[in-house]
């Protein structure tokens, strides 16, 4: 019975906490593709060679080989593109929305989802101005938001900031290599 109870407690501790929505996807789209009236989904089914290219560039490839960019248009003019990116860690997944302007520089980054456990850490990193540092950077530049806010926040929010940097880096590589 003791072993059973310990097993149950262990299993409960291992369980990742539920996901919470920090920003609704709809709101993220409105903020990152402002003024867009029409949208299209550009789905890239990567070949093994291109998946490897992406992996060589940033140490990541989409697990199912697919990257989807959402393109915003206004009167047939492209207003920008947006990609949702998931970053996994032992505490659960984070979802980011990364928006690009037509020149290919980052218009903004929103953290759309986290887990219950991660939420306060993410919120602390965001309050320190983490996502401000991504605005305007090109896809060639390495995102360094974590470095800028680490001195003002705790260790776990700092770790979340590193994960968000990583997600932005993955999105930048996908955009740079395949978005045309």
């Amino acid at each position: 019975m003791k072993a059973l109870l310990l097993g149950a407690a262990g299993a409960a501790l291992l369980h990742i906490t539920p996901t919470v929505i920090l920003v609704k996807r709809q709101d993220a789209v409105a903020r990152l593709l402002p003024g867009a009236e029409q949208f299209s989904a550009r789905e890239l089914h990567l070949s093994s060679t291109d998946s490897r290219r992406l992996h060589d560039a940033v140490g990541w490839e989409p697990p199912d080989g697919i990257v989807t960019f959402y393109v915003g248009k206004r009167q047939a003019q492209t207003t920008g593109a947006l990609v949702f990116m998931r970053v996994d860690c032992q505490h659960g997944p984070l979802e980011l929305a990364i928006g690009y302007d037509p020149r290919g520089t980052i218009r903004g980054v929103e953290v759309t989802k986290a887990t219950v456990e991660m939420k306060p850490w993410v919120v602390e990193a965001l309050r320190a101005g983490l996502t401000d540092s991504y605005r305007g950077i090109t896809t060639e530049q390495a995102p360094a938001g974590a470095e800028k806010v680490k001195s003002q926040i705790g260790a776990m929010p700092g770790y979340m900031a590193e994960l968000i940097d990583k997600g932005v880096m993955h999105a930048n590589a996908a955009y740079r290599l395949f978005y045309k």
Binding site: R42, P63, Y70
Partner: protein, 181 residues
């Protein structure tokens, strides 16, 4: 029979009843959650766990050259949650859920050991309780790696889980509170 639930101490029967009620409630919410995120038809399950994309039943291997498709989409569709479990998430799901499933199967098996049923039926019930999560996750992995047609195995796992719980809960409740000696 290792112990007899029918004649067990009132506190044991109370514990078992509350445990079964709690599992029952969590199973109901589990069924609701499956309906929300995966669905109950083999096609829906294959879409959730199989390869991603517009035509998951067709496209399993990476194409020889990168393929790009573009289609108009509404704001509502873009905001819609397409719950798709990719390989990384399935690794994480398997890692966190399998131990919990094992603990639940073990708890129900301990209850089954106290039921007044033939020895073979006890073996069969325990086998069913543990087979259910194995089928569930084997189905998810086979759907992901081999063919979307294996979604049926995941559905079989889910129904086996419900069946195992129903058998144990019904027999235990009946024997503890109605058919006492």
């Amino acid at each position: 029979m290792l112990y007899d639930l029918r004649n067990s101490d009132l506190r044991v029967r109370w514990l078992v009843t509350l445990l079964l009620a709690t599992f029952g409630a969590s199973y109901l919410f589990g069924a609701w959650m499956v309906g929300l995120y995966a669905g109950y038809s083999p096609r829906k399950v294959a879409e959730t766990y199989g390869p991603a994309g517009e035509e998951p039943m067709m496209m399993q291997m990476p194409p020889e050259t990168t393929m790009v498709s573009e289609r108009p989409i509404s704001m509502a569709e873009m905001s819609e949650e397409h719950h798709h479990v990719d390989l990384d998430l399935l690794v994480q799901d398997t890692h966190v859920h399998m131990p919990m499933y094992a603990v639940i199967a073990a708890c129900l098996s301990v209850i089954a050991l106290g039921l007044t049923i033939p020895r073979w039926a006890s073996f069969a019930t325990i086998a069913l309780l543990f087979a259910a999560p194995w089928l569930d996750f084997a189905g998810m992995w086979l759907t992901k790696l081999v063919s979307p047609h294996f979604a049926i195995v995941t559905l079989a796992g889910g129904w086996a889980m419900a069946l195992g719980y129903t058998i144990v809960a019904a027999l235990a409740t009946y024997q503890m509170w109605w058919r006492k000696q």
